[in-house]
Symmetry: C2
Subunit: 385 residues, 2 copies
């Protein structure tokens, strides 16, 4: 088996490796072993009835004398679009609302405090088409569109912070679109929003035809369950983006994404995990699953024939810890919910051990970057003659 059918790296290793070797392979690949979280039977049954994977893990921190453990459970949701992309827009959106409602219900049964959905979760990832209608009709107001109201209800019902990445229509600034994540407090209040800071021009990711680079900087949201930030999709390739969220105090950075096998699968386990290590924080990498077919054919800038599908989204959502360890990934092809318990005290503990912030020399880099960004910059190159 290969391609989308191949279930996951972890399942393959567990099937074939002898126990002692499996332990060493996991140590080298994943660091310190991540304990499984004991989840309620009712939740496991509901997940099975709802036909989605449910996995739970926990990251522990050392006990401190002056701080209690700061335990929080995050829920990462990966899913396919239930209806085909040529179904009416309103039907597609409500089918997705219903699907997420079911999954969030199970997340609540598992004690999830903060839930995050995948990038542009209310729609197919239609930016490959470069068509405007009907895709731009999926855009909504971040503050009071139907999807935000739906998420507010979820948040209140489950006493849960909701991170809702969606296509935003900005009516107060010329009706432009943004790739946005709305953060809703567990009280149901819209805490604020954050926008995708880096926009791809890669293959089928024609997103710069729809929206520009975010203009909200690097906000961090102080929730009841810890300080969180959202680095949307392509921003995970930019170490500075992660860094600024971390400098602003983020303890958990979500990376809701939509990315496909042929393009990025070997980068996926590297980037969010590197960010967790480099910034002494937890990172949550979320990718959608399945194949999306579009009504009209399009080309992909790769010299190949026009086609109507968008490769396959390979799921594999995971959480990485500041100590360099990580959870296994969710399936590459099934809807799934990953519930992970974090002790946020680990962030400062690892910071005190590795000291990347203390040794970061940010003043020097601010100066060097400011120079380097000038049109007449002369790079520091030493040559023999």
């Amino acid at each position: 088996m290969s391609g989308p059918e191949w279930e996951s790296l972890e399942q393959c290793l567990e099937k074939h490796l002898p126990p002692a070797d499996l332990r060493e392979v996991k140590r080298v690949l994943y660091g310190k072993e991540t304990r499984r979280l004991c989840l309620p039977t009712a939740a496991l049954q509901a997940a099975s009835a709802g036909d989605f994977e449910l996995q739970g893990y926990t990251f522990e921190a050392a006990r401190e004398q002056l701080r209690q453990p700061r335990t929080v459970r995050v829920g990462l949701v990966q899913n396919r679009t239930p209806l085909p992309a040529d179904a009416p827009v309103a039907n597609q959106v409500s089918a997705l609302h219903r699907r997420i409602e079911t999954i969030a219900e199970v997340a609540a049964m598992c004690g999830t405090n903060i839930i995050c959905f995948q990038e542009a979760w209310t729609m197919p990832f239609a930016f490959c088409t470069r068509e405007k209608l009907p895709w731009t009709e999926f855009a909504e107001s971040a503050e009071d569109g139907p999807t935000t109201r739906f998420c507010q209800k979820l948040a209140r019902k489950h006493d849960m912070v909701v991170v809702s990445p969606m296509l935003e229509r900005d009516a107060t600034h010329g009706d432009v679109l943004w790739n946005t994540a709305v953060v809703i407090s567990n009280s149901g209040t819209v805490l604020g929003k954050t926008r995708k800071n880096h926009i791809p021009r890669v293959g089928d990711f024609n997103e710069s035809s729809y929206y520009m680079e975010g203009n909200l900087g690097h906000p961090v949201f102080q929730t009841r369950f810890g300080r969180i930030a959202v680095n949307i999709c392509y921003g995970r390739h930019h170490p500075l983006n992660w860094l600024m969220y971390s400098i602003n105090g983020a303890e958990i950075i979500f990376n809701p994404s939509a990315t496909i096998g042929a393009l990025s699968e070997s980068l996926w386990p590297i980037e969010a995990r590197n960010a967790a290590i480099a910034n002494h924080c937890f990172t949550c990498a979320i990718n959608r699953v399945g194949q999306e077919h579009f009504p009209n054919e399009f080309t992909s800038g790769d010299g190949k024939k026009a086609h109507q599908d968008f490769g396959y989204f390979y799921g594999s959502s995971y959480v990485a810890s500041p100590d360099g360890s990580r959870t296994p990934g969710l399936s590459r092809n099934r809807d799934g919910l990953l519930v992970v318990e974090l002790d946020l005290n680990l962030c400062r503990q690892v910071n005190d051990i590795w000291n990347f912030k203390m040794t970061g020399r940010y003043e020097m880099y601010a100066r060097e970057l400011a120079e380097a960004a000038k049109p007449n910059y002369s790079p520091n190159i030493i040559q023999e003659f």
Copy 2:
């Protein structure tokens, strides 16, 4: 088997996985398959006679119309210290010179154009002891010390650029020490030097007792075989350090290191590889091997009893490519030489595909970092009340 005896991740996977699964595991772990390089039989025999591993791989780029392929072979050397740490300083240094001479000879037989040794290659990694004598006696002038003269001879003899990471004694600035890498042109000229920009205070890595953060910025060396830079050891944890070398034009960044199993092994495959991806360049991660025992006992800041050894250096040197793929690692416990052929055209090709520089928004980050570095910085935190 576990600990230092466990040979390598790759050997374990190849032994146990069925071919089809092995292909998928490698694709997810390592990206596009890296072809083996055909090396001369005489070189393989010489390596075997010299009791060190010799591996070769090649990364290819697409053919272009206007540029010829820019093919270069790099050689990464990992080795243990041949003599015990309590042997006379001069004997330890000459034993290391002899060892490296043998390995460089084989590298030359394999057509290596640029060779890089491990961090502080002329000495045991004695900074765990916090003792000054005899360890500071390993320091030499970067410009005309015996080790630099030795490397100049190597460079001329083999028409090879030599990157020589060593402990520098800076006689013209108060006799201070630096952790430095000297870059010697294939003509034998000292092209220049670069210094370790970030200094650890982690466990046994008491290096800040010996030398301070480098003051030479981020120089890039234009050699006959391409533009190279050297990010020494702990600098690999700092994404900004890689970034500035890349902004200054580095196509290959060497990361000569000395790091041990318990501390960093699960970080090792992540960081240099992430840097290759994020910066559209090749990165070469080099770690020493073996266990070093010191004459006097020392503690490690971990609450454990005093001891005389420094864990085990786990080798596993590898090269990562801008397209996200990588070579397997060298052994975890044997001396080794990794010869990798790179087509430097791949850097710009991947840059044109992924566009991380074009979409990098460096002006914004220069401003944000300059603000964040101020003592009175107020982080961008949004809260409900």
